[in-house]
């Protein structure tokens, strides 16, 4: 599935398949309730948000009350009550990314798209949100599209990304595959792999920065004792 394919329709009523997949998630754990977080990801994948129906379904499968499910769904920021666009664009504005350009990128995108925080463009394509630290500080400022890394952004590059997304042009993560839709991403997070783990590099330049320098200078960790044993034995004999 690529960015240019039409997205699968939102399930207005949860399908039989989704019901059975929700049960499948619960069955992965020694205690079924442990499945709730991934189950809610699957609800979002099927219905584009956490719906009242999805909450009822999780509650029924896990034997807990809808209020208990609701309490969980409202606690975690990745769960959305309003429909999310085809692409969720998150701009990191925690301290380091903010200083390195995140604040300016977010302001520019809000202006360019004409949306506020956690709002979706009228064409339903892009939901814009400021996000907290996404563990990519060595690539600051960082933007996430459907939770794929878009590293080392500038206001101009960020505008280009959202324009491409809205025009249906493919956008590729700097450290991953071509971005899928938000609902497809949510399905992977629910524990249903999409077979795309082998796309993209092992890491970006920052990931490999120290290793590259070590290679240039011939630096390594000490050799294991087993391997040096003959040498020291030799030294002992010489002595």
């Amino acid at each position: 599935m690529t960015a240019t394919n039409p997205p699968e329709a939102v399930e207005t009523t949860l399908s039989e398949t989704t019901w059975s997949e929700l049960r499948e998630i619960a069955a992965r754990y020694p205690e079924a309730r442990s499945g709730l977080l991934p189950m809610l990801h699957l609800v979002q994948s099927a219905q584009g948000r956490v719906t009242p129906e999805g909450i009822e379904a999780c509650a029924e499968i896990l034997g807990i009350t809808p209020a208990e499910v609701n309490g969980v769904a409202t606690f975690y920021t990745m769960y959305k009550r309003k429909p999310v666009g085809e692409y969720h664009v998150g701009v990191c504005t925690t301290a380091l990314c903010a200083v390195m350009g995140g604040d300016e990128i977010l302001a520019r995108l809000q202006d360019h798209l004409g949306v506020g925080n956690d709002e979706t463009t009228a064409d339903g394509k892009v939901t814009l949100e400021h996000i907290e630290c996404n563990a990519a500080c060595d690539y600051a400022p960082v933007m996430m599209v459907n939770w794929e890394f878009l590293d080392n952004q500038t206001p101009d590059s960020a505008v280009q990304v959202v324009d491409d997304l809205r025009a249906g042009r493919p956008v590729t993560s700097t450290r991953g595959p071509r971005v899928c839709t938000w609902r497809e991403a949510e399905r992977v997070l629910a524990g249903f792999p999409d077979g795309r783990a082998d796309e993209g590099p092992s890491g970006g330049p920052a990931t490999l920065a120290g290793l590259a320098i070590a290679r240039e200078r011939g630096w390594t960790a000490p050799t294991a004792p087993e391997l040096t044993a003959p040498e020291s034995a030799q030294e002992a004999t010489d002595a």
């Binding site: 020694p30 309730r33 442990s34 709730l36 977080l37 991934p38 809610l40 990801h41 309490g71 969980v72 606690f75 975690y76 769960y79 998150g90 925690t94 301290a95 380091l96 200083v99 390195m100 350009g101 604040d103 300016e104 996000i131 907290e132 630290c133 563990a135 990519a136 500080c137 060595d138 690539y139 600051a140 400022p141 459907n146 794929e148 890394f149 080392n152 991403a185 992977v188 997070l189 792999p193 783990a197 082998d198 993209g200 092992s202 890491g203 920052a206 990931t207 490999l208 920065a209 120290g210 290793l211 590259a212 320098i213 070590a214 200078r217 630096w219 390594t220 960790a221 004792p225 087993e226």
Partner: protein, 436 residues
């Protein structure tokens, strides 16, 4: 004397398709698992104890000792839970590790689970890192297919199942008991301790919770021995570790070095700060560790050295800020982070972080009122040590330390906006030139 950089965990990251089982095994991967399965579990615990490995998630608790706290006479199942909820601002080491070499983690999970006699392990990954989730899911599937996981692993009679679990956006779930709540399908709010997870953790059963890098460090210890590991690092802080450089430096990224290296040495290797930059302040281990300044360039970056300098080694997340940066602005943004992530369970943290943000916002706008600095310190005093978990304590670290080193900037906040003193554009990564 080991080399300045000592890639062990990162040593395979530049191999083509480094994340694949075949690549990992071609470089000696899963040999440690076979060695471990031939050992008695208690001997493995002793080995990890003797290596001196300490938790890489921030607290630095000895890993082998944590394992030994599991009451083996408890009839309940034992569990291993990997904390892969990397979210502490500045911290960015576990994510690249899992992306580039998920099998290092998976092999560590199997050996560690065998050592504590767990037949079920969970890898709790934050939800906001899709491709990392893909890579770890694929690695676990490959490990099952190769017989490294499942029933009777390599004829040892040992069974292990691993579940890759995704979070859903909550920094607090990096706190180990909140993580267990999330893993049990509840709101991620910390639990009262005792009982500690070693006694009553997941499903009230004995549970070990370790950081990704801690668990990933286990296979190399099994392969090369405890004394090999402790030949790197310092007396009380053994081994190599991932240091993460970010911010106003020429070459941000991951640098694997023996514990005890200094920031000066690391910057020297990494080409220093960006052109025209002077070091103003930095964090040794994420935003919850008190900031340090240029006077601390020669502090050994190990648990004791950073502690003696009045901060904490934390996650070794070295966020570097130069002279263009407003410390008031940075502290405000960290504080907004803690306010956003406060789980709401306890009053000092929930209410205190809100008030801290209000006060800091005024100061950033240059509209601070007399007494604001005292109010900030008073608030910190009422949060530190009075919150339910370390999130509240961590929220006070940047504020108290920034006032200690840069009080005059907070005083300037009574009359001049931070953006006027430090034009924000100059701090960006794409600012054409840097000027003081």
């Amino acid at each position: 004397m080991p080399d300045t950089l000592t890639p062990v965990l990162s040593n395979t990251w530049d191999a083509p398709q480094s994340w694949k089982l075949a690549t990992y095994e071609a470089q000696g991967g899963y040999a440690a698992l076979r060695t471990a399965l031939g050992m008695a579990p208690d001997d493995l615990i002793t080995m990890v104890k003797e290596s001196g490995l300490r938790g890489r998630g921030g607290a630095g608790f000895p890993t082998g000792m944590k394992w030994s706290f599991i009451p083996q006479d408890n009839p309940k199942p034992k569990y291993l839970v990997v904390n892969a909820d990397e979210s502490e601002p500045g911290t960015c080491k576990d994510i690249p590790l899992m992306m580039a070499s998920p099998h290092t983690l998976v092999e560590g999970v199997i050996i560690s689970s065998y050592a504590i006699r767990a037949n079920h392990a969970f890898i709790y990954i934050r939800g906001e890192v899709l491709h990392v989730v893909r890579r770890v899911q694929a690695a676990v599937a490959e490990a099952y297919a190769a017989g490294h996981l499942g029933k009777n692993i390599h004829g040892s009679g040992y069974d292990l199942d691993v579940v890759v679990h995704t979070g859903a956006g909550a920094y607090i779930c990096g706190e180990e008991t909140a993580l267990l709540e999330g893993l049990e399908g509840r709101r991620g709010q910390p639990r009262l301790r005792p009982p500690f997870p070693a006694v009553a953790g997941l499903y009230a059963s004995p549970t070990v919770i370790n950081n990704v890098e801690s668990i990933a460090s286990v296979p190399c210890i099994v392969s090369n021995g405890a004394s090999w590991f402790s030949s790197m690092g310092t007396e009380k802080s053994a081994g190599m570790t991932l240091y993460s450089l970010s911010g106003h430096v020429k070459r941000p990224g991951q640098y694997e070095a023996p514990l005890g290296i200094t920031l000066r040495e690391l910057l020297d290797v990494a080409g220093g700060l960006r052109e025209g930059s002077e070091l103003k302040f930095w964090t040794p281990g994420g935003s919850s560790t008190p900031i340090l300044t240029a006077e601390h360039l020669d502090v050994p970056l190990d648990y004791e050295g950073v502690g003696a300098a009045g901060s904490m080694l934390g996650t070794k997340a070295l966020q570097i800020f130069d002279q263009t940066t407003s410390v008031v602005r940075v502290v405000l943004r960290w504080t907004e982070f803690y306010k956003h992530e406060s789980c709401g369970k306890c009053t000092p943290c929930r209410e205190g972080t809100w008030w801290l943000v209000q006060t800091l916002k005024r100061l950033e706008r240059g509209e601070g009122q007399p007494g604001d600095i005292e109010t900030l310190l008073d608030l910190c005093d009422n949060i530190l040590g009075r919150s339910f978990c370390a999130l509240g304590d961590g929220a006070t670290s940047p504020i108290a330390s920034a006032i200690k080193y840069f009080r005059e900037e907070f005083e300037a906040g009574m009359h001049t906006p931070a953006a006027e003193l430090f034009p924000y554009r100059a701090s960006t990564a794409y600012a054409a030139t840097v000027s003081a």
